[in-house]
């Protein structure tokens, strides 16, 4: 019974959302606002009970791990964002956050730059590697603006534009597929779970 009620509510809200395709209306607005409220309503208590209680409250107050007072205080400093006079205090926890980003720089350099470069330095012995080689060089030169894009150099850099266009085309095709998949998901729900037309 509970499941049936849930399916009917979900179907009603899905149709409310779809009604926007005709034009903006109060049903769409109701469903949109409800979605924002429910998301936050779910997120806040879930995080409180599954993050704050087990990782802050219990170790500090029940297990007496007093070393946690330091990160606890640093975390509390975030709340100074709400004070116009003392909002500068919140920059200290942000600085710690930036420190963590810094920790990722060497590993990020390795994963995103060095390993990528290494595959560019392979022998040009198959068509894929040759295409990748010319694509990378021509695109990099296209973004080199200290030399006018004229003559042979200009023609070579224009190959880079073609490579980029192919990349944008692939991304656009995938984006269409993603959006249609979401529509298919909702229609499968309406026809299957709600109306029982597909099983």
């Amino acid at each position: 019974m509970t499941e049936t009620i849930g399916i009917w509510i979900a179907a009603f809200l899905t149709l409310c959302m779809f009604s926007f395709l005709y034009k903006d209306n109060p049903f769409y607005k109701f469903a949109e606002h409800l979605f924002v409220g429910v998301s936050m309503g779910y997120y806040i208590p879930y995080t409180f009970y599954n993050a704050f209680i087990p990782y802050a409250y219990e170790p500090l107050f029940l297990k007496k791990e007093y070393i946690l007072i330091i990160p606890f205080i640093i975390g509390i400093l975030y709340w100074f964002r709400f004070s116009s006079k003392y909002s500068w205090v919140s920059r200290y926890p942000i600085a710690f956050g930036m420190g963590i980003v810094g920790m990722g720089v060497p590993m990020g350099m390795h994963a995103n730059v060095l390993v990528q470069m290494r595959t560019m330095m392979l022998p040009l012995n198959n068509i894929n590697i040759i295409l990748i080689f010319f694509g990378t060089i021509s695109i990099l030169l296209y973004f080199f603006f200290s030399k006018a894009h004229k003559g042979v150099y200009g023609k070579f850099t224009s190959i880079g534009i073609w490579f980029m266009m192919v990349g944008f085309g692939a991304s656009f095709g995938y984006t269409v597929m993603a959006r249609i998949s979401l529509l298919i998901g909702r229609i499968q729900f309406l026809l299957g779970d709600w109306l029982g037309l597909i099983k």
Partner: protein, 317 residues
């Protein structure tokens, strides 16, 4: 109104209506279009399957996604879990998003009802939700000791006391980490877990993100990937034709459509359940809509060029 003007000024609601029909009709009247598997999906299947029947190897499934992307990612969740339960592969599930924890429960319970012999904390272990801020300590900590880094499972039980952890220590016991998300979370696993500990990483992504992973597939930083609904459909098929028939993976067979068709005829009833075919059924509608969109683009361009020519003629006169 001329033809060129008419096709340039079609009411968007008519287009939405045609699009809705193009989705609804193939879902109700199934077309059963063929699914052709691709290398990134086959590679992921092969990697996961390599852990079959091993007590000291497991895979990690990271469900860092929310309900908004379920139509694309949930069929992947089910297909990978079904593969693991069918082939006796140990699974650890984790999510760094609160919403992901509920999706893990849903996926596990849905697949587990078809595998009554599969036991929690013996054949699989749900680590549950871990706060986003702990993802780095956990990712790095698992390189030394999984039980110490994760501490407890979703029920609050200490990992070190669970039977599944008896032969599991660190990433040496992890066959592959499969990140299923609609974000760049897979990059974190590559940057921290793969770069430092060399663990294999693969991704299941929404189609929007799929094009971005190809550079990482080429370098081998991702050992496989599932791109959107198409990737999920391919994985469903591989599970059906190999895992469900307890056959070893073979790339040659996977691409031999006559062999694939023959495997489909011998499938057990379990594999025919709607929930395990959802992505392939969805791909029927996807194919029709893609043809429709191509037609729309061609018609729009014809209208544009006819309009340009008419305006040029008018200008010459």
């Amino acid at each position: 109104m001329k033809f060129a003007d008419r096709i340039q000024k079609v009411d968007r609601r008519i287009i939405y209506g045609i699009l809705a029909l193009a989705v609804i009709l193939p879902l109700v009247f199934r077309l059963g279009l063929k699914t052709y598997t691709t290398t990134p999906v086959e590679d992921l299947y092969r990697h996961i399957d390599a852990a079959a029947g091993k007590d000291d190897m497991a895979i990690i499934m990271d469900f860092t996604h929310d309900p908004g992307v379920l139509p694309e990612l949930y069929p992947m969740d089910l297909a990978i879990l079904r593969h693991c339960f069918q082939r006796n592969i140990k699974v650890f599930t984790i999510s760094f998003l609160p919403q992901g924890a509920a999706i893990i429960q849903l996926a596990l319970s849905e697949v587990k009802e078809d595998y009554p012999n599969i036991e929690a904390n013996v054949d699989y272990c749900n680590f549950g939700f871990k706060p986003w801020s702990l993802k780095l300590p956990i990712m790095l900590g698992m390189g030394d000791d999984i039980a110490e880094a994760v501490e407890t499972n979703s029920e609050g039980l200490k990992l070190e006391n669970l039977p599944i952890m008896q032969n599991m220590k660190n990433y040496d016991n992890i066959q592959v980490v499969v990140e299923i998300s609609g974000s760049s979370m897979g990059q974190f696993w590559v940057t921290y877990a793969r770069a430092k500990f060399g663990v294999d990483v693969a991704v299941g992504l929404t189609a929007v993100m799929a094009a971005d992973v190809y550079p990482f597939l080429q370098t081998g930083q991702f050992v496989g990937s599932l791109g959107g609904l198409k990737g999920a459909a391919e994985y469903e098929q591989l599970v059906d034709i190999f895992a469900m028939n307890n056959t070893e993976f073979s790339k040659k067979n996977a691409r031999n459509m006559a062999w694939v068709e023959a495997q489909y005829k011998e499938l057990p009833e379990l594999a025919k359940l709607y929930k395990y075919n959802k992505a392939r059924i969805g791909m029927d509608a996807q194919a029709i809509v893609h043809v429709l969109i191509i037609l729309f683009i061609i018609l729009g361009n014809i209208g544009y060029f006819l309009d340009q020519r008419a305006q040029k003629k008018k200008f010459v006169k």
